[in-house]
């Protein structure tokens, strides 16, 4: 553990917040160009900086930054370890591609500056969430990201958007309530909220059932953010209603950061993965896989189908983490990264199609591959990745998860996970066939390929699908093994943390 004087971890939170703050003012002066450039520069800087910092993390361990105010320590500290780094890089990649995509896509929504402002707040919230070291900070940053996302879901201001946003807000509020309740109980028991002290406190206090109750509250609260079945109902309304880049952001990273990350961090590092928690996680994962996949098949709205697919894929992450074996955790984390890449790619593509044709209904599309060859290709790559076809990235993470299931002797889970993957392929083939292949419809004769920056973003993500898939041993070695080490060492990681 190192106290990183040279590494300014708070930049990840402060920079997007500051840019978000000045953005509305800039919006008064320049409607489009300056916000575009400034936002993209910010996200690009965050991406580059996360990689630079990450390189040092990989070589020298964990960084902690403590805030001080005129020399007085403020008891707020940020920590960057392998797991946080993985999430940070994932957030940065997706947010960079999303802002790139927004340059062209958000033209017709108007008020670009406000949009960017909200987006940056969301990014700041997520960055803060993955860097924070205590339960309360997690809650605060969770709310920061969530409130920005309510605004962004409602950004179109249509009837559906507002309804979806309201439903999302109301269900999230319930979740937040339960999370706060859980945090208060924990505080009451242990007298502290930092991970390390809570971890020790829980083991000192003999309150098994109370801790179990808190775990259930967290599982419900964060599970709702992660859209685990049965807490998923807000997602199929909220994600399709948002503008496509925001859908990409929500499905690609937000549900993982505010849901999956929090659950994994708290359950694996703070509470310790007990048999009960492991079982619950695996069953929730399995149910999510099938409910998400089966409903996805029947959808006609492309974005809604993708949203259900997100529920299904989140299930894979949890089933992998739930095994508790290092390989399963590795697979789950790898799937977080991969799902972020290909799901944001697919949502961005859905946006490109919607902008080109004006519809999201699959049965109205047809034969777009001829007019939109680039989008068709990247979409095919994304679809094959999500369905787990080698050599794309999704295949390897699913394979690792399934191998882990077999190793931990959950044979039925392994078979069902494969079956879920087949169903996934099924509905992605439906998208591919209905939208891109098949008979070219007369009305889409004048449809054009997506504009430059939109194509640029999707091509980057599609290339990432291939590159991660082909060089997966490298990716696993550099990014995932450090993250897995921290999680697989369980609570003992925190015993060593901060000198305990």
């Amino acid at each position: 553990m190192t106290n990183g004087e040279g590494e300014l971890l708070f930049v990840f939170i402060v920079l997007p917040l500051v840019v978000a703050g000045i953005m509305p003012l800039i919006g008064k002066l320049s409607k489009k160009v300056v916000p575009d450039i400034l936002t993209n520069l910010t996200t690009f800087f965050l991406l580059a900086y996360s990689i630079i910092v990450g390189k040092q993390i990989i070589f020298s361990g964990i960084y902690t930054t403590k805030f001080s105010w005129f020399g007085e320590p403020m008891n707020i500290s940020l920590t960057l370890d392998g797991f946080s780094l993985l999430m940070l890089v994932t957030i940065s990649i997706v947010s960079f591609c999303v802002t790139l995509f927004s340059i062209d896509y958000m033209e017709h929504y108007g008020h670009k500056a406000n949009y960017y402002s909200l987006l940056l707040i969301m990014i700041a919230g997520m960055n803060g969430l993955v860097l924070s070291t205590d339960l309360f900070s997690i809650y605060v940053f969770l709310e920061v990201a969530a409130i920005a996302s309510y605004g962004l879901v409602a950004y179109g201001l249509g009837h559906n958007e507002l309804e979806a946003s309201f439903k999302y807000l109301m269900l999230s509020a319930v979740a937040s309530g339960f999370i706060v309740l859980g945090i208060s109980i924990i505080f009451a028991c242990t007298g502290s909220l930092t991970f390390s002290e809570v971890a020790i406190g829980i083991h000192l206090v003999n309150a098994k059932y109370l801790v179990g109750f808190c775990a259930a509250l967290f599982l419900m609260g964060f599970g709702l953010k992660a859209a685990l079945v049965p807490f998923h109902a807000w997602l199929p309304d909220a994600h399709p209603s948002a503008p496509a880049p925001i859908s990409a952001m929500l499905s690609g990273v937000l549900i993982k950061v505010s849901g999956a990350y929090a659950i994994i961090r708290i359950f694996l590092n703070v509470f310790g993965l007990t048999y009960a928690l492991s079982t619950v996680l695996m069953y929730l994962g399995l149910i999510s896989i099938f409910v998400g996949a089966i409903i996805a098949i029947g959808q006609n709205d492309m974005k809604r189908m993708l949203a259900y697919s997100s529920i299904s894929q989140i299930g894979y992450i949890f089933i992998g983490i739930g095994t508790g074996s290092p390989l399963g955790i590795l697979g789950g984390l790898f799937h977080i990264l991969n799902h972020a890449v290909f799901k944001s790619l697919l949502f961005l593509n859905s946006g490109a199609i919607e902008q080109a044709t004006g519809t999201r209904e699959l049965d109205k599309m047809g034969g777009l591959a001829k007019q939109m060859p680039l989008t068709a290709t990247t979409n095919a790559i994304g679809s094959l990745s999500v369905a787990g076809i080698p050599p794309f990235n999704g295949f390897w993470s699913k394979l690792l998860i399934i191998i882990a299931l077999v190793q931990t002797q959950h044979y039925a889970f392994a078979v069902l996970a494969v079956l879920g993957s087949v169903i996934t392929l099924w509905y992605y083939l439906i998208i591919q066939r209905n939208a891109f292949f098949g008979k070219p419809e007369e009305i889409w004769k004048n449809v054009k390929e997506a504009p430059f920056w939109m194509s640029c973003a999707t091509v980057i993500l599609a290339l990432l699908c291939i590159v991660i898939g082909v060089t997966f041993p490298f990716v696993i070695k550099t990014f995932l093994v450090p993250a897995t080490d921290i999680l697989a060492s369980g609570v003992s990681y925190l015993y060593n943390f901060l000198g305990y």
Partner: protein
């Protein structure tokens, strides 16, 4: 040092010319011809130079893992490189006229030079991986060369690709086993005894399949007659009768001398001789009934592979020497015959016997060369075919099994009958009215044929020349061969029982032909009908023409049946289960779930709370 870099040049140079020829636009035909001629001439000089060098080695580190770019020149491969360079030169000249109007001539020349580059690499390679690399590259050029033929050629190209590819696969498998046994991928110095272990025998047989399949042995021969119909005749003459035979026999000789010990009268030797004898009989019986010159020559070349296998497979010094010499002679007379067929096709547009006739006055040069090559092919004294055939027969005789000689004699008779039939129906016989204005082919076409025909005579009359220069040095360094250095003694002597019997067999062939000719209304083209309708033979011929013996066709049929069974036995059943059970369940469950997602907030909230209660219950119960 200088000579070792020449080895690399001998591979690179033809490849460079292939690229140059490919880059020259199709319209600049003269330029292309000039470059091809220069290239062929340089390759020719290089071939003679390397034959003079005899011994050279080049070793460059390559892939690691004991796999080096290891080239070794010695007598046998320098002989092949020289022969190929001579043929390349002749074929290049020939193609200037013959391939003039061909729309894909540019590709043709490219493939031609590439093939030579790969052949040089394959025979020079002293490492198995390197050899396989060049050997497989040849498969590609073979495909390309056949495919530039007529419209149907791509099918034949595919067929040859698959059949030869299968043989190559066997060879690679054999090499893999050999690697496992010896632990080295460099060409082994100490030959293995195939009877020492089962694996060694399997490895030997697999590599033999690779070598002999390339040469076109039964049952991997069926693409050759098809190719004779579809591929350009120059490709047939150069690639299929010269290069493939040379390479196949080269590897066969390497296997039987360097890689494995094949003893006389060992099981493997018997197997090879039986294979050779069967190939002779079957292929030459098929030869006799063909009604197209090119197809007839194709079958005949398969039969001749049988002679070579019989000779080398006998594992006697004289037999092996005879087999190799037979290979050299076969390239001369069969190359000459194919080029004559090309000359006839060039002028008349056909090689069908019943459409030709009476060309002896119109194409005298072609006629004379054809007859010389044909007579050499029959093995008539004093032409080259006689010498090598006698050597093969003496080899077979030394093993003590007369039956193989009988097979060879039957083959001799059939060859004589078919050559007589061909010559008679094309150059004599009734003149076709449509062909009354035919003239002799251009000099560039006749010249290569004349060269080959002259070589047939020289190699026959002065047979000690090729035997002492080309064949005998192959055995330097191998024990048990030098005491037999008087190979020529067998060959020169016409007055020995074997040679006289052969002569009688040729006469017998003539009689069979004449009998058929007179029986079938003195029509040369249908003279084989008597043999064709002979009781037992008739059935076999019918089966053969229905492609019953074609393993490619049979393989395709088998795959079709297998596909049918799998489709109805497995696929449809699974599909039914899938349709009814999985898809049905998914549909029903999906409908229920969609119904549940009705958009009511209270509903969703209730799920959340319900889920929370269940989770609390489960955690409490389990912990």
């Amino acid at each position: 040092m200088a000579s070792s870099t020449t080895l690399l040049i001998s591979i690179l140079l033809p490849a460079v010319f292939a690229v140059i020829v490919f880059l020259i636009p199709s319209k600049l035909r003269a330029l292309r011809n000039a470059f091809s001629l220069i290239g062929a001439a340089i390759v020719l000089c290089l071939g003679f130079y390397l034959f003079g060098v005899k011994n050279a080695e080049l070793n460059i580190p390559w892939l690691g893992m004991d796999i080096n770019f290891d080239l070794r020149l010695y007598h046998l491969n320098s002989l092949i490189i020289m022969a190929v360079s001579v043929f390349l030169f002749l074929i290049t000249i020939y193609s200037f006229v013959k391939m003039k109007e061909h729309p894909r001539a540019r590709e043709y020349y490219t493939y031609l030079f590439l093939t030579v580059a790969f052949v040089n690499g394959a025979v020079l390679a002293n490492n198995f991986v390197l050899m396989v690399f060049f050997w497989e590259s040849l498969l590609v050029t073979l495909y390309g060369l056949i495919a530039i033929g007529n419209k149907e050629a791509y099918k034949t190209a595919l067929k040859s690709f698959i059949l030869v590819g299968f043989c190559d696969f066997c060879m690679i498998l054999g090499i893999g086993i050999l690697w496992y046994l010896t632990g080295s991928l460099n060409m082994p110095l100490a030959p293995l005894d195939p009877s020492s272990s089962g694996l060694a025998a399997v490895s030997c047989v697999l590599m033999l399949i690779g070598a002999l399949g390339k040469a076109g042995v039964m049952p991997f021969h069926t693409w050759i007659p098809d190719a004779s119909k579809d591929a350009p005749v120059t490709v047939m003459a150069f690639i299929i009768t010269v290069i493939d035979k040379m390479l196949g026999i080269y590897l066969f000789v390497r296997i039987s001398l360097d890689f494995f010990v094949i003893g006389m009268n060992s099981a493997l030797s018997m197997f090879l001789m039986i294979l050779g004898a069967l190939t002779i009989i079957f292929a030459l019986f098929m030869t006799f009934v063909q009604n197209n010159l090119k197809r007839m020559l194709a079958y005949q070349s398969i039969g001749e592979v049988g002679y070579m296998i019989l000779g080398i497979g006998s594992a006697t010094p004289v037999g092996i020497a005879g087999g190799i010499f037979y290979m050299l002679n076969q390239t001369l007379f069969k190359g000459g015959l194919f080029l004559s067929a090309g000359s006839i096709e060039h002028r008349t547009g056909t090689t069908d016997f019943d459409k030709l006739g009476g060309l002896r006055n119109k194409m005298p040069l072609t006629m004379i060369c054809f007859v010389i090559c044909a007579v050499a092919c029959c093995g008539l004294w004093p032409f080259n075919g006689f010498v090598s055939e006698e050597m093969v027969m003496h080899g077979a005789k030394e093993t003590g099994y007369i039956i193989f000689m009988i097979a060879a004699w039957i083959g001799t008779a059939l060859t004589a009958a078919s050559m007589l039939k061909a010559a008679h129906s094309i150059f004599w016989g009734k003149e076709n009215k449509e062909l009354s204005k035919i003239k002799e082919s251009e000099l560039l076409i006749t010249l290569p044929i004349i060269v080959l025909a002259l070589l047939c005579i020289v190699f026959g009359v002065h047979n000690y020349l090729p035997i002492v220069m080309f064949v005998e040095p192959i055995f330097y360094g191998y024990t048990g061969f030098l005491e037999h250095s008087g190979f020529t003694a067998h060959a020169l002597n016409f007055f020995n029982p074997v040679a006289i019997t052969s002569f009688v067999c040729i006469l017998l062939g003539v009689i069979v032909y004449l009998y058929g000719w007179s029986k079938n209304s003195k029509n040369a083209a249908s003279s084989s009908e008597s043999v064709r309708s002979f009781p037992v033979l008739k059935n076999i011929y019918n089966l053969a023409e229905a492609k019953i013996f074609d393993i490619y066709d049979q393989g395709l049929k088998f795959l079709k049946v297998l596909g049918y069974i799998l489709y109805y036995g497995v696929d449809r059943v699974i599909d039914f289960m899938y349709e009814k059970i999985i898809a049905g369940t998914v549909r029903v469950v999906g409908a229920i779930l969609r119904f549940a997602h009705n958009g009511y907030y209270a509903n969703y909230l209730a799920w959340c709370i319900g889920g929370l209660i269940i989770i609390v219950a489960v955690i409490s119960l389990l912990s």
